[in-house]
Every structure is written in C-alpha cells, then in structure tokens.
Amino acid sequence: MAKLRTPIWESVKISLASLRANKLRSILTLIGVIIGVTSIIAMVSLISGFNKLVADQLATLGSTTFIVEKFGIIMSDDAWFNALKRKDLTLRDYQAIVEGCTECEEVALQMASNRKVKYGSEHFSRVPIVGITPNYMKVVALDDIVDKGQGRSITEFENDHRRQVVILGPEMAEKFFPKLDPIGKKVKIEGADFTVVGVPKKRGSFLGDNQDRFAAVPFTTYQKYFADKLEPWEGLQFYIKAKDYPSLERAQDQVRAILRARRHVPYHAKDDFGMYTAETLMDIFKQITAGISFTLVGIVSISLLVGGIVIMNIMLVSVTERTREIGVRKALGARRRSILVQFLVESVTLAAVGGVLGILLGIFLAKVISWTTPIPATIEPWSILAGLLVSTGVGVFFGVFPAAKAAKLDPIEALRHE
C-alpha cells in the first residue's frame, strides 16, 4: 500500500497560522523561553566582552612584566589583617633589585595618591597623582599612548632634578584648555605649579575607573611634594620587566630571593610582599567569571525548564481545544504521523520563535548595558547558535508528549468531541 506523505512545510505553515491566530497566548507562553535565551545571549556577550576588555587592559602591562608591592592580591580578611603588619617596600629594596636581578630588563617605580588639580577657575578635586620613573612607560607599554597624544613623556633629567612637570590626563586637558595647546601650560597640584609636557590619547574607562583623569609626575618630584612624611614609602610599587617571556619566572625568582633576604623572611614562611603578573590577574578574573557563568547556567536551565513546561501545558490545552479538528483531519486521511508532526512542528515553531525573540532581546540588552555602563559586550556567534538549538530542543522535548497524545486520538471520539 502506498504511504501517504505530508510535506513538513505544510505543518509549519499550519503551525505558524495557529500561532498568529493566538498572538497574545503565544507570547505569554514564550516568556520562559525568551527569558532563558535572553539570559544566555546577554550574559555570554557581557562576560566575553568583559573578558576581552580585561585581556586588552592587561595586555598594556605586557606579558613579561610583573608587579611587586606590599599587599599583592589578597583574597581573605585574615590574610589582609596579617598583611597589614608587613613592612613597606623601600627605595633600598628597589636598588637591591636593580643591582641583583640579572634577568630584569627594567625596574620602574610607581606611587600614587589623590590630590586636587587646578587651572584658573577650573579644578578637579580628587585626581590620582602618580609618581613614576621615566622607564615606567616602557614597562607598562604605554609608550604609544603618549606618542599618539600630544607632547612627550617624562625625561631622566626631569626625574633627577625633581622638575615640576606633569603628564596630564586627556579629560583634564580638555576641561582646562578646551581650544588651546595644553603643552607648556602651568597647572596647580596642591598649590604647586607644574608644567604640562604631555597629554596621552583617550583610553576611556575600565571597570568604572576613569583612565583619562590622572596626572603623572616624576617619581622624585612626587617624593618631595606628595609622599607621606611619616611613611614615605607607603604604596610603593615596583613594575619590573623581564628580559623576555622565558626569563619571566627566573626574574620573579631572583626578585623574590632578594626581597626575602633583605626582609629576613624565614625559610618556610610565605612571602611578606605581593607579586603578580598580568596572567595572574587574568586567571583570577577568569575564576570569577567562571563562577558567574556557572550560576547563570543554573538560572537559564530553570527558566528553560519552566518555559518548556508552559509550552507543554499550552500544547495540551491546544490538543484538547482542537480535538474535533484532529478528528476531522483524521477522517480526511491524516495519518498518526501527520498529526504528530503537525503538533511537534507547532511546539518547535513556538519555542524557536521564543528563541529568536530571546536572541534579539539578548543582543538588545547587551547593547543597552554596554552603552549605559562601562561594561562592554561582544556578541558571540556560538551563543546565538546555542540559543536557537536550546530553544528548539525545548520545543521537541516538551512537545513530544502533547503531540503523541493528539496522534493517538480515536477519530470517532474526536469527531464527537464538543
């Protein structure tokens, strides 16, 4: 006997027609799936945008650079209270490293505190004033940022002679000198005159930290004007660049050995200073985002489960409502498979429409967040594909039972159904 064949496309058209006929109900039905898929898209976009941003930012630190400071990265309160007892790093430690570390190419210094900066009647009340050695720009790979801006960096001469010169953040330069050349102008930092020698190009903000609002002065000048009189080395950081990537670990070992010896750290005790690389920071950041992703998977699963159950429920209602229609279709020659496919296609179409709406909403949400907050968004193509697959999967999984129920209906009973 010849098999009756029903084109799937006919089922899709029937399904879309019935979705259109019940617009409000369809949308309400889809909320669970929409929320699930929206979360997938938006969160994947934000997390990967965030990751990329952090990676970009850390790249300026360079893959061969590491930072040494009193506290380092401290993850618990206990560790923090212990760390408070540590001695500050000093300029003598710096000199010891410069002399003793053969694998180190550059050792730069940095100290920072918030100060008032003024020009004419304009002022910024709390600006990070950063004292840096001239080689800092090489270590942190900020060379090009100064180069592409205006003016120049700080020179050895200026650092040796505690000159009152400043590299001014572009946001400040814009406010102080809207239409003028800022180079050569004098701004007041805590009352002292500083001549502007350079303005880097804009970088935007990073994790809520405005990177265009700062003032960098020679390290020695910072010591003279802004360092705490009682604790002159409070907050001192060493930015150390190893010769190349293979020597990074050896450089860290040498620095560690020098500092432990100088600070009399017992053999089995832990370091009483912090040391980290861009990679360390990236790893920590990835741990955090992995935790967020994990929680997210839970939320998404629950909303998709609920969304799927709602779809199953509405499909069961639909089967009951259309019992007579099913009877008519069967009387006219629809086989079980045709009815099964019709209702399955309907639930998959329903879920897939939810998936598409979720994808659009997710992209929109990610964009809105990236426009209104410093968090960037990168739309990942795989997340769109995942959203589609997951939503259609939900449609199949939760649509099978109602569709099978419809297919099994007895045509006589179905035709009699009121």
Binding site: A17, A21, G333, P411
Partner: protein, 228 residues
C-alpha cells in the same frame, strides 16, 4: 459491487464485563452509483454502521469489502489511506477548519495524500466550482451561510474523487429551504455517477434516495428499493 458486507458484528466493551452489541450480523451490498439512505432511531446502530463503512472503525467480527479490498482488519494508518482515497465525508456540523479559507479547507484531503501545491489548488477550485462556490473561495467559514458551509464540506468530500460519499445528517443543522437545496445537490451528484450513503432519521430526507435501509437493534430491519 462497491460495498460487500457479510455478517458484520460490532461489540463495545463498556468495562466490568458489560458488553454492548451495536451491530449483530449485518449483511449489506451496495452497487456503484447507488443513492442509499440508512435510517434508524438513535441507538439502533446506524452510527456504528456508518463508522464502519466510513473506515473510521473496524468490526469485531465479519467481513467488509470496499471496492474489492477487505478493509475489516487494517491498521490505523491503512484506514487513514482508505478514508483519504475512497471516502468523502459530509457531517451534520460541517466540521470545517474555522481559521482556514474555503479553499484551504477543500485542499486538506489533498495535503494528506501529498498532491503538489499547484495541482491541489486547481483541483480544489474545480470542486468548489462544482458546488457553485468559486466566488467565495477566499472566505472563512464564519463568513459563509450554513448552506454555503455545507457546500464547502461537500466540495471537500468530493475533491479526491472518492468511490463513496458519506453524509451524516447533512441537513440536520440547516433550515428546510437550505436543506432542500443541499438535497438537490446530492441528486445532481448522484446523476453524475457518485455513490452516496445518506445517514438520517428524517423520512422526507431519506425519501430522496432510491433505496432505504432501516436499522433497528443492530440488525437490518427492512431494505426497500424504490424508483427514483
């Protein structure tokens, strides 16, 4: 012989060992081109007989040959195939899909046998033309009168050129004048060579047929033939 029924029994299990014998040994032959009415009070078994002839159900016992093919013990899907090819149904309540146009409703049986779209449309239009509804083909059932709806249903029943047209109380939901129009349409279809089985409990409706089979208590009580 289009239909040959021998000693047909249908027993329903109502649970707790209660059985209802809806048909108790029915013999019935129907020739191609006959116009036959099946009459009987409710509970007589006429609906059961109609369901069996219409291949919506299978008998408990006995044989049923439609068009030379034994259809008594076929599977659900095989019965669906027979219904699609051989039988056109006309119901008391029309049973059109409310959201679909007249044209789409008529196309439905063709969809289920995989007729290509262009051919489907052509055949459906021809069927609608045969019931004088071509101008209304893009209307939905709720935009049509009762008589028009039943004519759409008749077009749908005829679109696959079935061997057999089964009408179950086709005038039951229509006023007298419209009912008469529908009966005229059946007479016309009869003259064109269609085999028609009319299930009804109304004598004046049954009187349109050339042969009236009376059913009572699951058996054929009387089989009268009359000149058309």
């Amino acid at each position: 012989m289009l239909i040959s029924i021998r000693n047909l029994w249908k027993t329903y299990d109502m649970g707790q060992a209660v059985q209802v014998q809806a048909l108790r040994g029915v013999d019935l032959d129907i020739e191609r081109g006959e116009y036959i009415a099946i009459m009987g009070p409710s509970g007589s078994g006429k609906s059961t007989l109609m369901n069996l002839i219409g291949c919506l159900d299978t008998p408990t016992e006995g044989s049923y040959e439609l068009n030379g093919r034994a259809v008594g013990q076929l599977s659900d899907d095989e019965l669906a195939y027979i219904r699609n090819k051989e039988i056109g149904f006309v119901f008391q309540t029309f049973n059109l899909l409310a959201r679909a146009t007249a044209l789409h409703n008529v196309e439905l049986p063709l969809i289920y046998n995989g007729t290509p779209a262009s051919e489907r449309k052509k055949k459906a239009e021809q069927a609608l033309a045969a019931v004088d509804l071509l101008p209304r083909m893009h209307h939905k059932p709720n935009e049509l009168s009762g008589g028009e709806r039943q004519r759409v249903a008749i077009a749908r029943a005829l679109v696959n050129t079935p061997s057999l047209l089964m009408a179950d109380e086709p005038t039951g939901n229509l006023d007298t004048a419209t009912g008469a129009e529908i009966m005229q349409l059946f007479s016309k279809l009869r003259k064109q060579g269609n085999t028609i089985i009319l299930v009804t409990h109304e004598h004046d409706i049954a009187a349109n047929a050339e042969r009236i089979v009376h059913i009572r208590d699951g058996r054929i009580e009387k089989d009268e033939r009359r000149a058309a």
